[in-house]
Structure formats: C-alpha cells, structure tokens
Amino acid sequence: MKKLAVFAIIVLIFGTVSPSLVDRAYGQNDPSILLRIAVQADKQIVNQLDRVYGDQIPNNLQILYDKGHRAVYSLDESLPDDIEKAKKDFLVAMNSFMQISRIISQSSEKAVVVTVSDKSNRDSTSEIDRLEKYVKTLEKISKKYNTNVESDFIKIYDLIQELRIQINDEYGAYDDVINEIKIILNSIKNDIRESAIKHKSDFIKRFFDRLLNQIDKLLTHAQDNDVDQIQIDKAHALILEIRELLSKNQINDAKVVYVELKELMKNIGYSIQIT
C-alpha cells in the first residue's frame, strides 16, 4: 500500500512538473528570433519612409519610428539576459512599425482595400499551387480506396503543367484548362465516394454496434441502481429501433434515433461520453 501511495505521488509530481518544464523550454526557444524579426521590420519601415517621403517624413511618423527604433535598440540590449523586457520591447517596436505602415498605406494615392476573397483578385500561380495540393490530397485518399483513377491523376498533373506555362500567355486558354481539371476532379471524387460507400456502411455499423453495446451495459447498471424501469424500457426500445434501421441501411434515421437515445441516457444520469 505504501509503495502504491509513493508510486502515485511520484507520478503526480512528475506529471505536474514535467509539462510545465517543457512549456517553458518551448516558450524560450531562441529568444533572438524577436530581434531578427524586429530588425527586419525596422529596415522595411526605413525603406518605405524613404520611398514615400524622402527627407520630408511627417512628424507623427518620425515620432512613431523613433519609438520603434529605440525599442529595437533596447531589445538588442535586453537579450539574452532580460527576456521579459525583450518581449515588451519587441511588442512596442512591432506595434509602432505596424502603425507606420498602416498610416502610409491609408495615405497612399492608390489606397484601395482589396478583398482577397474576390476571385478576380486571386493570383493564378497561387491558384494552381492550391489546386495541385488539393489534387495530391485526393490522390492519397483514392489510393486508400483502390479506385482505378491513376490515369485521371496523370492527366490532371499534365494539365497543371500546361496551366503553369499558360499563366504568362495572354492568349492561352487558362480558364478552359481549369474547367477541364475540375471536371476530372469531380469524376474522381464520385469514384472515391462510390468506392467508399461499402467501407462507410461497414464503418458506421461497427461504430453503432460498439456504442449500443456500451449503452446496454450502462442500462444494466442503471437497472441495478433502481433507475425508473419505464425509462430503461424506453432506452431498450430505442436501441432495438436503431439496430433495425441499421439493418435496413437507413443510417440517417438511425442517427436521429441515436440522438434521442443519448438525451434519454443523459436524463437518467448516464452520459455517453469519454470521461
């Protein structure tokens, strides 16, 4: 018993202490990154101010820049000994530079707020990169389902290559190729879905089977603890109903009944959840 107690205490102590040690180690991972970011930002701001204002920097911006630059200097001094001060200096510097760059952007003659979500503002290269990433993800999934769509993927990759060439071609059929890729992708997705139906059905039935067995056990326990028999009978009836729906492959209906069963179990004090 003593050994058990000491064992438990050791586990508790180390369990409490060790994650906090790790967190601290992580948080303090190379604090000089703060200086690197701040110095880089400082250089960029100087460039911006030079480019936009030359020697006639507005007073408010000069004050802000001086504040930020002083903070970068102080940040350099604070490292590596005074991490807390370094953090404060970093935030002061980055905040000042942020204000400067926003003021410059707002005052720019071409100050137009661009909505990135607007499709017309999207960059073709970025769009192709994102599309290629998506294709690779689908390819990985399709292999899981043993679908015969390898040739489709080869075709898509060829089209993606074609797209990259056409980006700079004013007369290229960029949109047509994109549409062609999307059609093939939809076909692949349908193939995956079809192949997944069988897997999915088995998977869902296994899931419910596991769950309903557990609820059965909970109901036995509830019966031993004198829970209202009417409620227990109702729960058993719902379990039967779910099993029947599953046998008919009526997954969505089974889900609806399951939600009702979950609520009932909660009402009689037996939540179905991981504790």
């Binding site: 018993m1 050994k3 000491v6 064992f7 050791i10 586990v11 180390f14 369990g15 060790s18 994650p19 790790v22 180690a25 992580y26 948080g27 190379d30 990154i33 703060l34 690197r36 970011i37 880089q40 930002a41 250089k43 960029q44 460039n47 970093f90 935030l91 980055m94 905040n95 530079f97 942020m98 400067i100 760059s101 926003r102 410059i104 952007s105 720019s108 137009v112 909505t115 990135v116 979500s117 999207r122 960059d123 970025s126 769009e127 994102r130 599309l131 990433k133 998506y134 993800t137 990985k140 999934i141 899981k144 998977f203 296994r206 899931f207 769950l211 889900k255 939600v259 179905i272 959840q273």
Partner: protein
Amino acid sequence: MYSFIEPTQSNQSLGDDGILFVRNEGIFDTMVKTSLLIASMIIVAALIPIQSSFSSPRDLDLIIYPDGSTHISAEIDIDPFLTDYELNLFGSTIDNLVVVGDNEFLLDTDIIDNYVLIQTFGSSVINIEYDIHDLVSKQSKLWTFSLDSPSNFTLLLPQNSAIVGMTNLPINMEIINDQNKLTLPSGKTEIDYLFSNTISNSIPDPKTEINYFSYAIIGGVLIIILIGAVIIIRTKQKNPKSVNHNPITEKNNILDIETIFKLKPDLREDDRELVKFIFNNGGKALESELRKKFLQPRTTMWRAVKRLEREGVIEIEKKDLQNLVKLRKNMEEEE
C-alpha cells in the same frame, strides 16, 4: 465494475518489542524501489503527449499564398461517441475542403456559413484541409493577416514577404525555402507584411532548435538525476554504518567531546558546534531545540543532523512525533 482496495497493515516497521523506530536514511529506498521509480517515469513520459494532445485542434498549420489565400490543415481530437462534429472554419469563402477520419477514411461534410458539419461516426482524430480567402486583407501594398486561433499554430508566409508589424510574440521562427515560418500562440493575432524585391529576406538563418531536442534534454537530465539519486541511496543502504537503535539498552558511556572530535577530525565547524551543544545538553536534544538554538531553517538543520548521523556521531529517535538527536554511545568500539 467497481473494485475496492482494502487497507492493509504492515508489521514490518514494528520491532520485536513493539517500539516504532523511524530511520529516515533508508526510508526512500525501503519505500521506493528503482523499478517503481522507472515505471512511474515511463508512465509520465507516455502521458505528456496525451496531456498536450487534448487541446483542440492538436495541430494547426497555415500557409499563406502570394495572393493572400490561405491553406489550412488541422488535426483535431474529437469524441469518438459523436456522430457529427461542428467545426469553425475561420471564414466563409472555402475551397478544396477535404476531411478524413481515422485510417484516412473520407468523411462527409456540409458547409454552413462559417462552419462545417462533419459526419465523424466514431473517428477519434480528424484531419481537415481547406483553402480560405478571408484571413488576409490588402490595402495598397500592405497585407494584413488576422486570426483568432483556438490553439498555437504555425504560419508559413509567402516568399519575399517581410513582416512590418505584429501584435503577438512569436514562439518560434524558422526559414523554409526562403519563407518565414512562424509558430504563434493561441488568441488574436495580426501580422502586417509587405512584398519586397529590393530587400531580400535578410533575416539571418535562425538556429532552428527542434523542440523534440528540448524534450529529450529535459527528460534525459531528469532521468539521470533520479537514477543517480537512487543509485547513491542504494549504495549507502548496502554499506550502512551499523547503528544500533535500542533506547532500552541505554548506557552511560558517551565519549567526552574531545575524543569525539579526535575520532571525527573531518567534522565541519558548524557540525562541531551542534555536537558541543548536544554534549552539554546531557548527550541529547530535540531537533527543534537545535533549530531554535542555532536559528537554522528546518531543512538546513535536518541536513546537518543527517550528516552527523551518517558520520556515526549521533543517532536519531522518534519521541512524541519529534526527532530526538542523541550522541552515539559506542563510537569508539566501532572506530
């Protein structure tokens, strides 16, 4: 299923005469076996990633493309007893959404405004990937990334971008293919950046300390210290300076103070003062009395008393839940 643990009484600590002796020196070794200690550490080591993983999402990685669109990938722990899981997508302009569950099982999804309803059906971990166009805005040449993240996340900025402002302290930064990759804490984050062809990414290549390395070092040091401590204690236990704790056979054969010091010439000066005091106090004193006399904290005095006990100068007895420190009577014979 419930099990009950019956309390058991151990008679091992009771002597034949029924008097309870407490030997602090061997208590750790008696109670904690090395195997127990190692087992506990293994359990703790195994639990650390589990403790960390119960934050949701477990991993959140963002890649910003040059046009401001952002690819998000996240790994999320979910309750396997759920049939559906609703997830905030950080925005409503979503492309290329794919969600896979356990064993890369493709899951059905429905996007409703900023949320996606995922039919999880027993998956305990889901991986979600999608592109979003709501996280970055642009004014003139300034790009602003904004996110209120539920967990720490990594952010890969586009090539040739330079940060000119941020509201949070980064946890880490590294350069991957000339792109800044930041690790940022949970909560609201705003980062302003510009694209620059004139200034290259002149941030010196940071020392990309791998966090696993920190884990390994900390874990290693802790294990070495503990194993070392256990070995030392065990070694001492195997070579004990036999101390006879039997208060009933007390004799008046305490050595005089000069003889004690001759037998133990290496005693520290402060320990000698302690011995003198005990000697002048009739050969015994409570540890609390020693603390009061020498104005020492409890742990300092405890260490001094333990030191003298190891030297074989004194012996410790329990008296009314206190430590009674007595000068040894048979020191000369043992020497």
